[in-house]
Subunit: 324 residues, 2 copies
Amino acid sequence: MLPVAWSDVQAARRRIDGLVHRTPVLTSQTINASASAHVYFKCENVQRTGSFKYRGATNAVRSLHEPTAVYTHSSGNHAQALALAAWVRGVPAHIVMPDNASPAKIAATKAYGAHVVFCAPTNENRWQTADRIGRETGATLVHPHDDPAVIAGQGTAVCELIEDTATPEVILVPVGGGGLLSGTLIAVRELLPNAIVIGCEPAGADDASRSLATGQRITDFVPRTIADGLRTPLGESTFTIIRHLVDDIVVVPEEEILPAMRMIWERLKIVIEPSAAVAVAPLLSGAVRNRGSTVGVVLSGGNVAFPGLQPTGGEEGVNSPSVA
Amino acid sequence: MLPVAWSDVQAARRRIDGLVHRTPVLTSQTINASASAHVYFKCENVQRTGSFKYRGATNAVRSLHEPTAVYTHSSGNHAQALALAAWVRGVPAHIVMPDNASPAKIAATKAYGAHVVFCAPTNENRWQTADRIGRETGATLVHPHDDPAVIAGQGTAVCELIEDTATPEVILVPVGGGGLLSGTLIAVRELLPNAIVIGCEPAGADDASRSLATGQRITDFVPRTIADGLRTPLGESTFTIIRHLVDDIVVVPEEEILPAMRMIWERLKIVIEPSAAVAVAPLLSGAVRNRGSTVGVVLSGGNVAFPGLQPTGGEEGVNSPSVA
C-alpha cells in the first residue's frame, strides 16, 4: 500500500480551501507552436510565498491536532511556506537554515514570523540541529517532502490544473525531493488514469532517474545544478510512490534550463525560478514530443532574486535598458 | 474641441474586440500594505506584442478603408504592435527603425512580418526616412501617439480596468508621447468624472511636466532615462488633451524606477519594463498618498531583455541562482 491515498488528496483540498490561492493557468500560442502541442501552465509561482510548497505546508499544519509548534529544516521554499502556514494558524515555527542561505530567503522566512535557527551547511549538521530543536521545543516536524500530509497537499495543484484545462494527455512536473511529483501521481492516477506523468530533473542532480534505474534510492551525491530547489534526494515515501506510479523521468541538461526560463519570461511575461524551468525545457528540446498533444506543466515557483539592469545599446545617445 | 471623443473610444472597443487580449487585473496584499491603498494592476505587459501599443495600432489599422500598406517609425513597442496589427489584417507594414535599435526588437518586428527600413539614429533622419518610405510605397502613416485612432485605442485599457475593479479614485499611467495618458483621460472623464488621473514620467524625460508648467510643448531635449518607452516628447494632439484633462503629472526620480520594477517582480511575479515601473514608483514613494484609497495602475508593457544568471552564495558548496 502506498503511503498516500487519493482520499488524502481529497481531504487536503477541503482542508486548504480558501487558505491557498487557486493559481491561474496560462497559455501561449507561440509556445504551442514551438512545442507542437497545446500547453497549459499552472502558475504556482504566484502561489502564496511564491511556490507550491505552501499547499503541502498548509495541509500539514492544518492536519495537526492542537500543535504547540512546528519545525523543519530548509534553505528554500519550504522554509517560507511553513513559516507562513504556521503563522496563519497562530502556531510558532522554528526553521533550521544553513548559515550560508541567501539573506533574502532568511529575511523572508523571518518576515513570516518564524524563529530561524542557523546551522553549518552540511546535511548531517542540519538534521542534528533540527533534531535538537525538536527535542528542546516539543515542536512537530513538518518534513519538506517525506510527509504524507505534505505530499497530499502538493497533489492539489494538479487537480486544479486538470479542472481548468482541456484534459491533458501528458503532465510535466519537476522532481527534487519528490513531494510534488508524488502528490501529482496520486491525484492523476485517480483523475486521469491514462495520462502520462513525467518527472523532470536537472542533469546536475539526477538521483531520481538513477534511483529508479537501479531500484535503490540514491542519497549520497553532490548536486551541481542551477535548479536550487531540486538539489535534495528523494525521500523514502516519495521514492516508493514514484517508483510505483511514474511513467518516466526526463533528465534535463543544465544548459537547457535558462533558455526555458527565458521562453517563459518572453512569452508569458512571468518570473519563474530555475527549478520550475526544468519542467519547461523538455517542451523545447523535443524530449516529450509525440507523447501527447495536450500537455500540462506545473510551474513550481518564482523565487529568484531580482536582477540589476545594465544598459545595452540604444538610440540617440541614450541607452536602452536590458536586465543583465 | 478635443481631437478625440468618448465616442471614438467606444468605437475602438467594438473595433478591436476579439483582436486584442482582455488582460488580467492583479493585486497584492503586500503592495496594498506598502501603499496604504487598494491597488489594481492592469497587466498590459501580457497584451499581444507585450504592450498596450497593440490596442492603438489595431484600432488604427482597422479604421483604415482599404489600406494598401501602413508605415511608421519606432524603435520600440509601437514597431512590433503595428507590425502584428498589419499582419493580422493582411496589410504590408514598413517600419523605420534606427540602425542601433536592439537586435531583439528588430528581430521581433521582422518576425511579425514587417519590412524593416534602417536609418541613422537621429530624430530628423527618422522622419526623413519615414516620409520617403511613405511617398515611395503609398502607405498610410500610423503615428506612435499623435493619431486620434491610436489614442482612442489606448483608451480601451482603462475601460476594462474600471470594469474589473472596485471603482478607482486615482489612476496612474506612464507618459512618454502621451498616447496612453490621452486615451485614458478621454475614457475616465466619461466613466468616472471625479477620478484623479495622474501621468507619471521619469525625471530624465520630464517634458510633459515642464510643458504643462509653461503651456508650451517642449520637444527639444535629450532624454536621459532608463525608461526607454518614455523618451519621446508629447505630440500636438496628446499635449492638447493632457493639458485640458489631466489632474497632475508626477515626476519620478530615476533611482525609484528599478525598486518599483523589483517590487512587481517579487510580489506579482511578473515581468514589466522600466517604463511601466514609472507608474508604480509613486505608490512606494508616497507621492500619491492621500489622493485616494483605491488606485488603478496601467502596467504598460513587459518588453525587457532576459537577464543572464549568476551564482550568488549557496549551500553545501553548490551555488544558489540569482538573476544578476
